[in-house]
Structures are given as structure tokens and as C-alpha cells.
Amino acid sequence: MSDIGWSGLAISLLLVGVAIIISVARKLGLEWSIAWASGRALVQLLLVGVALDLLLEPGRPLAWSFLWVAGMIVFAAFTVHRRAREIPNLLPLALAAFASSAIVTLGVLFGLDVFGLDARTLIPLAGLMIGNSMTATVVVARRVYEELRDKRAEVEARLALGQPAPDAARPYVRSALRTALIPQIETTKAVGLVFLPGAMTGLILAGVEPIDAVQVQAAVMYLVLGSVATTTSVVALGVQRRLFTRDHRLVRMPRPAS
């Protein structure tokens, strides 16, 4: 088992020093950003570590872990909302997407006993699922919005032929979903060949047999793929519904000032 201790952590900070020296030498002007990012990450991780220590104490009710997961979902939904402000009422939609994805993916992993349900498995798996779905969720929300705004003439031509709004929007929603999902599929394909993913690396560093680490990593990858597919589908359909009226009209969507 690898335990680097505080001294090991302090030595690893030398590598941050290397990054800062490069920034100074190449006049990148990023020294403060690098120092701030590294310090902030350390503080955040320490806070999370302390909180996890409390949650993982023997005898602590599992309800606290579920509360932690709920907090992650709310934070992720706010992040998505903040990164795609142009889309009306995205916050409740993102909340619903992350919650339904958590129910589906964690339900499969714990319901079918792939992992035993306790705080030590629930929190990291929920974190992986939610964290990896956030970018794809923002991408799909913005893409659906931009596709329907930029292809307004085509969409309205379809509506004018008597197509219901979901049919008229389908080609554009499909294109947005493909854009959001393909990077995740590519990452899944390249895993092991190009890079060793985080969970597996962490387990091997912590002394777990590589083949055991691989099994966990594969399950985690499928979790992420499933959760990205679920959140993007919920958000894509939700955004689409918000952009049409009940009588199948496309709402006005202002273009950003260029």
C-alpha cells in the first residue's frame, strides 16, 4: 500500500514549482494562476477528505452519504445552469437529469450487487458519474439550443408541413446528442491504449492487483457511459420541449451580440 504522507505531498509540490519556473522563463504570466489553482485544489481536497473521513466512520448512517450525493447533484446542476445561461429554466432540468441518471446507473450498480452499498463505494461512484456527465450535459444543452436557433428556417418549414414539434426537432436533437456522446465513446475506446484512467491508476498505486483494478475500472467506465447517455438524453429532450409552445411553435431565440 502506498502512503506518501505529508512529506511526500510537500515534495510533489516541487513539480508545481517546475510549472511556475516554466511560466516565468517563457513569460507566460501564469505563475499566480498555477499557484492559486494548485493551492485551491489542495484545500478543496483536504476539506473533502475531512468530510469523507467523518462520513466513512464506522456506524455513521448511510443517509449522510445520500445527502452528500444530493449535494453533488445540486452543485452540478448549478454549474450546468451557469455555463449555459441562455437556455431558459435549465436548472430544474439539469437537476432532473442528474437525479434520474443517479437512480438509473447507481441503481444498476448497487441493485445488482456489482458493488456493495456503503459510503466508501456510494460517494466516489456518484462523484465519478456526476463529474463526468457535467461537460456532456452542458454541450448537449447548448447544441440543441444553437441547432434549433440556427436552423430555424428548416425547423419552421417542417412545422409548416404539419409535423409535430418533436418530429420537427428530431434531426437537430439527434445531431446535438451525437456531438455530446461521441467524445465519451472515443474516450472509452482509447482507454488502456492511450491512457490509464484515474480509478485504475489510484487502485494500483494503493496496492490493488492490476486485474482487480481493471475490473473496477471497466465497471466505472460503463457507469460513466451510461450516466452520460442518460443525462444528455433527459437534458436534450427537456431543452427541446422548452423551445416549443404547446401549439407547436418555435419560440423566439435571441442571437448573442457579436
Binding site: 418549414a157 409548416a160 408541413l161 404539419g162 411553435r249 423566439r252
Partner: protein
């Protein structure tokens, strides 16, 4: 009927009747509310206040999807969809056979050679006629045409105008939005002049020069200097 836009009224307290026969031209300067007025007829736009009636029925009470198949629309820019011309027509009527598709093309003066051509490879005029054929596939009672020739050359423009006249002659009334005064004179039986969101004049095309109020006469007077022609 009144329509508000994001930056103020687009159509202001308009009351107008469009006859159920021939070609009605809705004409006026850019930003006069012509397209908005047209789009309320197939409910792509809903009035903020007031009602729109189609053959006696308030369109707000009709199923919008059925209404749009009865009141067909051709847009300012051709809007071909990905795929062949046949696949474009099948968007309007899934399962449409080749014979029916050829009949629709023929009504838009397109020969059988177009059927399997990719829609994105057509010229502007050809694409616009495919869009017209696609609309005709739904079997509309009425056609709305929103400046359909604005991106076409004079030859194609003339062909589409003649098509609209022929369709009106065959019993499909056409409401044609334009800001091109000579075009209005070529195609219209009835004229609705819109200025600044209001209907400034409505009547028979032959009376437009004598029966219209002063602001309409000023707008029509721009014809002599070339104002009001297609850009």
C-alpha cells in the same frame, strides 16, 4: 389582431379580410409586419391580442398541425432538407410513392429527372420549386408565400410568379408577401398594403392607384425611383 415582438409591436390592431380566391399580395416596406401577418395565418405566430379566422373558424381553436396542412407555406429562402428530392417530399407525406411524387413535381413544373437528385445540389430556383412541390404534397386549400422570389434571378422569379397564378387559377388561393411593386402589379388580384405594422389599404389591385390614401400613394410613388424593388 395585434402581435408584439421582443422590441415592440410587429402588427398593430389590424383588421383585414383576405378573399378566398385569386392571388392576394401583401406589400409594404421592410419591417412593416407583412411576414408576421402571414405567419399568423398558419399559426407559426400567435397574435398577442385579437383573433385570426380561417373560413369562419378561429384558428386558435383548430388543431395547428391540421391547419398547417390545409394552409401551406413557402418561405423566403428555399429550405431543402438533407436527402433526395423524393425524400424531401416524403417528409411532407411519409410513404409517398414515386408516382404521387412525380405528380407533385409536375405541378411545380419540375420534370422526373429531379426525383432522385440530392436536394442540396439544386439551384435556388429549383430548390424553391421543390419546396413548393413539397407543400403541395400535403394537399393545401390555400398557399402562403413569404417573399418566395427574393433570392431568385429574374427568369426564375417570373416562372414562380406564373406558377402561383396557375395554382390560383386551379382553385388554390395564394397570399403572396412582397416588397416588389412591379411584382405586385404582375401577380395580384387583391392588394393589402402594410405600413408600420398597420394595414394602410386593402382592395382590388386595379383600384390601388386611385382608391388608396396619401401614405400608400407615397409608398407606391417610390416605384418610379426604384424603391420597393427586390434587392
Amino acid at each position: 389582431m395585434h402581435v408584439d415582438g421582443p422590441h415592440g409591436p410587429l402588427v398593430r390592431d389590424v383588421t383585414v379580410a383576405v378573399p378566398d380566391v385569386g392571388v392576394t399580395a401583401v406589400i409594404g416596406p421592410s419591417g412593416a409586419g407583412k411576414s408576421t401577418l402571414l405567419r399568423t395565418c398558419n399559426r407559426l405566430e400567435a397574435p398577442t391580442a385579437g383573433t385570426v379566422h380561417y373560413r369562419g373558424d378561429d384558428v386558435a381553436g383548430l388543431d395547428p398541425l391540421r391547419l398547417r396542412r390545409r394552409v401551406g407555406m413557402v418561405f423566403q429562402q428555399p429550405t431543402p432538407f438533407p436527402g433526395t428530392v423524393l425524400e424531401n417530399l416524403q417528409v411532407a407525406e411519409p410513404g409517398l410513392g414515386e408516382d404521387e411524387a412525380l405528380a407533385a413535381l409536375a405541378r411545380a413544373r419540375l420534370d422526373a429527372g429531379f426525383l432522385h437528385r440530392p436536394a442540396f445540389e439544386l439551384s435556388g430556383g429549383e430548390a424553391q420549386r421543390v419546396c413548393l412541390a413539397r407543400t403541395l404534397v400535403t394537399g393545401p386549400d390555400v398557399l402562403l408565400m413569404d417573399e418566395p422570389t427574393s433570392s431568385l434571378d429574374p427568369h426564375q422569379r417570373g416562372a414562380l410568379e406564373q406558377l402561383a397564378r396557375d395554382l390560383a387559377g386551379d382553385g388554390i388561393p395564394v397570399v403572396w408577401v412582397t416588397h416588389d411593386l412591379p411584382q405586385m402589379r404582375r401577380i395580384a388580384d387583391t392588394v393589402v398594403v402594410m405600413i408600420d405594422g398597420r394595414v394602410a389599404h386593402a382592395g382590388a389591385a386595379c383600384d390601388v392607384d386611385t382608391g388608396a390614401p396619401a401614405e400608400v400613394a407615397r409608398f407606391l410613388g417610390g416605384e418610379a425611383t426604384g424603391a420597393g424593388r427586390d434587392e
